[in-house]
Amino acid sequence: MSETTLKVRSAGAERRIRALVAKPGLNSHDRGAKVIARALRDSGMEVIYTGLRQTPEQIVEAAMQEDVDVLCLSILSGAHMTLLPEIVGLMKRRSLDDVLVIAGGIIPDEDISKLKEIGIAEVFGPGTPTHVTVDYIKSNLRRKL
């Protein structure tokens, strides 16, 4: 059977990485989040973008309903030390520990290690080339594909 036929056959059933890109908190600046969302899509992922001003509950519930493999949190407001732990806490309580959680935005270096301790796998600062984030996600998924 020709290779093309096989490719066409499997295109539909190919396992896609599902990602949720969320902006918790009150900040209204979403360009960064949109850049990441598009980059993830261009790398072949299915990206659910939930928009601005999301509460932790909304984000976690969406992550659960959409059964995502990775949760990308974009924060520019400075409230990362309250919002991110809250979100990670909710994820744990809902047994969503197998979801990779990463963060981006304006997060000072001194807070990064604390965030990693509570369960944020990696933090990507402004100016990080998108392929770095994409590659990280692909190499660090916790769920089997």
């Binding site: 295109a11 899509r41 790398s43 072949g44 299915e46 659910i48 939930t50 969406a62 309903q65 089997k144």
Partner: protein, 317 residues
């Protein structure tokens, strides 16, 4: 931490939301046991009322569905929503943004929202959309909204799946004529003119009315036109009334519709099964490769070749 698809079915029937989400993923990915799971769920379906929402991009489908969901929640109905968006044919990825308009519903336990990418399917829906509808049905949803890609060309898929098809138009999108051309009007049970506060709303109404009048076939149900402004929740109560009216109408035509849907589902499932069985055999058949070569050299035409193959497969001479 793998849950078998069969465990997930039990979870769904026990109203566990996480099981619903995980089973949906398993079905989308055609995981090994997902077929058996879908079979098992089937006898638990049939309770939900499915509304297909179609229409051109920018007409306000997502916002409208969000508002409709809230209306149904007021009546304490359990709501399911599936929003389908196109996958890129090049990268295979997708940006699923319909949820933005419905995010406040996330914390309402009586609503379940799932975004799907078409993954190569044409026609407005993904291949497994109807199976995901079954999951929500078995989960206990009273009403399920399915938002299609709505490119306006081939919405036949949604007709097979939904009890009621709602076409959402908006003035000034420049494609009123396109909708008429594509025959979308023929399959729509209710037509909504959203963003009805816009200037050309009246003209859009008139164009739709004329298009409906052109349809000379005697219909038992004349599609009503409902004006809405989804962003300010105007007209949505009227729309719910029309949905309920159509639902009652369908009940009277009851068995007939279910049989049609049953037939369509059976034929779809049969087509898939046959294709798989046939392709598996063809893989090992040297004749098949020979035929392809001959077709490439224009010594054989594919239509005749198909007839020959089909007869061979079915056992005719």
């Amino acid at each position: 931490m793998g849950f078998s698809a069969r465990d997930l079915v039990q979870g769904v029937l026990k109203r566990d939301r996480r099981s619903v989400a995980r089973l949906m993923t398993a079905i989308e990915n055609e995981d090994p046991e997902s077929r058996a799971a879908v079979s098992e769920l089937y006898s638990h379906t049939g309770n939900a009322y499915t509304v297909g929402v179609t229409g051109p991009p920018g007409s306000g489908k997502s916002t409208l569905i969000g508002q409709l969901a809230k209306q149904y929640r007021k009546h304490e109905k359990k709501v399911g929503i599936i929003a389908v968006d196109p996958s890129s044919p090049f990268t295979g990825g997708a940006l699923l943004g319909d949820r933005i308009r419905m995010q406040e519903l996330s914390t309402d336990e009586g609503v379940f929202v799932r975004s799907m990418a078409t993954r190569g399917s044409l026609g407005g829906l993904a291949r497994s959309t109807s199976e995901l509808v079954n999951v929500l049905d078995a989960f206990g949803c009273d009403i399920i909204f399915v938002e299609t890609v709505g490119a306006g060309q081939s919405e036949v898929d949604v007709m097979r799946l939904a009890d009621t098809v709602v076409l959402v138009m908006a003035p000034g999108l420049g494609d009123d004529i396109q909708a008429i051309k594509a025959g979308i009007m023929e399959i729509s049970d209710i037509i909504v003119v959203n963003k009805a506060d816009r200037e050309n709303a009246e003209r859009t109404m008139l164009e739709i009315t004329s298009a409906l009048e052109l349809d000379t076939e005697q219909k038992k149900w004349m599609p009503p036109i409902v004006k809405t402004i989804a962003t300010s929740n105007e007209g949505t109560e009227k729309l719910v009334e029309r949905l309920e009216e159509h639902k009652r109408f369908l009940k009277e035509a009851g068995i007939e519709r279910r049989k049609i849907k049953g037939e369509i589902q059976l034929l779809e499932a049969l087509k898939v099964r046959l294709a798989e069985t046939v392709m598996a055999d063809l893989r090992n058949d040297p004749d098949f490769e020979n035929m392809i070569e001959k077709i490439a050299r224009r010594e054989l035409n594919p239509y005749e070749a198909a007839i020959t193959l089909a007869n061979k497969i079915v056992g005719k001479t």
